[in-house]
Subunit: 266 residues, 2 copies
């Protein structure tokens, strides 16, 4: 089963209930977030997942390299991923430093800090996965805006230490994305594939407006076929930030997600 | 004076007042929009602008090629630009057709309809200017998301018939934008330069959240220097969609805009 439930899709579902609910549906993978994991306890979360036959497909998230304590915080994130047995730590690069207009400088800093972190990740058996975010997040969340940028930043490092995330929501508009996916395949960089759909109008703040699979404008199956053709055989994480979905009971949200996944992604 | 006031920056300012107000500040150029021009009357607007020493630097907008009557409507827009003496008709390509997920198809259609329209524009002494819009508008307003795409669509046509718009708000995040501006210069495609700043959080619908010059995260002067270096000597249109600015009296909004323009663009 390639389906993996990213925890933020069912953000209000408590971890013990999520584990039971996933196991009941035959789900075998989950993507976790650091804050709820910390709340539940790192070791306890790891045990909970193992007890329910759930692999942790990724940990979200490291990055935010514009912050002063970024290196120390990312080292902790690597350690947490290792403790959970998550092979992948998603990196959201972070935006511009306060008051800055130096986009090139911010992008260079991302590359520098990833170079610092890559060997540490390798020692822990964790792969850093650079996630390009939609350009609408460029100033405040992620200065890495395209798959090509992410691949260029990853290039100097061993593929086992640094890869990329392909998330349909962030990349669907990019005319170069198909070339980028192929390149990620050839260079062994495709660390994680995530899906969400694109719907409008976007909500204020543009954070919580991701669409349920099939509700929007992305040809999700074309993406799935492209990552398959690039040799990706890993999990397909559904990561949807959506207020309506969060208002649903966890089991119903999971059921809907699984059904749409079969209909629009597989 | 390279400053030009795009009418949408002072959206609620009636055309006769705008003409008087611009002339009073020594402004010599304005970018107009079709709807308010039609409301005031096409010939009357042309005369009003001439009477106040105002050149019409561009007409906004043609495009929206996903619509059924796009060709006929764009021919009318070309005729209107010609009647106003506007050298440039801005084209916003339009989004995906209703219910469609065929982004490549929509992009091809844009190229096809521009090919149909280019000679007609040439006959009227009007230059079509393809405006790449920020990727957050890709599904519903503009499938042309990067400067490179716009230049590729323009390439088969005479530069006098088809050029591109460089708008800082839409392109600031693009790592390839500097290369694109240089290419636009070399190939004679730089038809119009527009400026607005990038501020967050974005408002619901993401249409009215453009920032006053200097309030946001764009290195506007770097853009101005880049278009200058590419040989662009035309107007610099300030086009800001912003509710707070629209709530100001026209003369105050213009005064603020001129002051910020001197401070952050020149």
């Amino acid at each position: 089963m390639r389906f993996s439930l990213n925890q933020w899709t069912t953000r209000t579902w408590r971890l013990p209930d999520l584990a039971i609910g996933c196991a009941a549906e035959g789900v075998t993978g989950v993507g976790l977030w650091r804050e709820p994991v910390a709340d539940h306890g790192l070791a306890r979360t790891g045990k909970l997942m193992r007890d329910h036959g759930l692999a942790v497909t990724s940990l979200c998230r490291g990055g935010f390299f514009q912050e002063r304590d970024a290196l120390a915080d990312n080292r902790r994130a690597i350690e947490e991923a290792a403790a959970l047995g998550a092979p992948v730590l998603c990196l959201v690069a972070g935006g511009l430093p306060d008051g800055s207009r130096d986009l090139d400088g911010a992008r260079s800093r991302v590359a520098e800090l990833i170079a610092e972190l890559a060997p540490y990740a390798g020692e822990h058996g964790v792969r850093l996965a650079i996630e390009p975010l939609h350009p609408m997040y460029c100033s405040d969340r992620c200065v890495v805006s395209t798959l090509r940028q992410a691949l260029d930043i990853a290039a100097p490092h061993p593929p086992s230490q640094v890869g990329v995330v392909v998330d349909t929501y962030h990349l669907w508009w990019d005319p170069d994305v198909w070339e980028g996916i192929a390149r990620a395949g050839v260079t062994g960089r495709l660390a994680l594939f995530q899906v969400a759909d694109w719907v409008t109008p976007l909500p204020e703040g543009v954070l919580t407006g991701r669409g349920m699979l099939g509700d929007g404008r992305i040809d999700l199956r074309r993406f799935r076929a492209a990552v398959d053709a690039a040799g990706y055989t890993g999990p397909i994480e559904v990561e949807i930030f959506n207020e309506e979905l969060w208002a649903m009971p966890g089991p119903s949200a999971l059921e809907l997600t699984l059904s749409r996944f079969a209909q629009h992604v597989l």
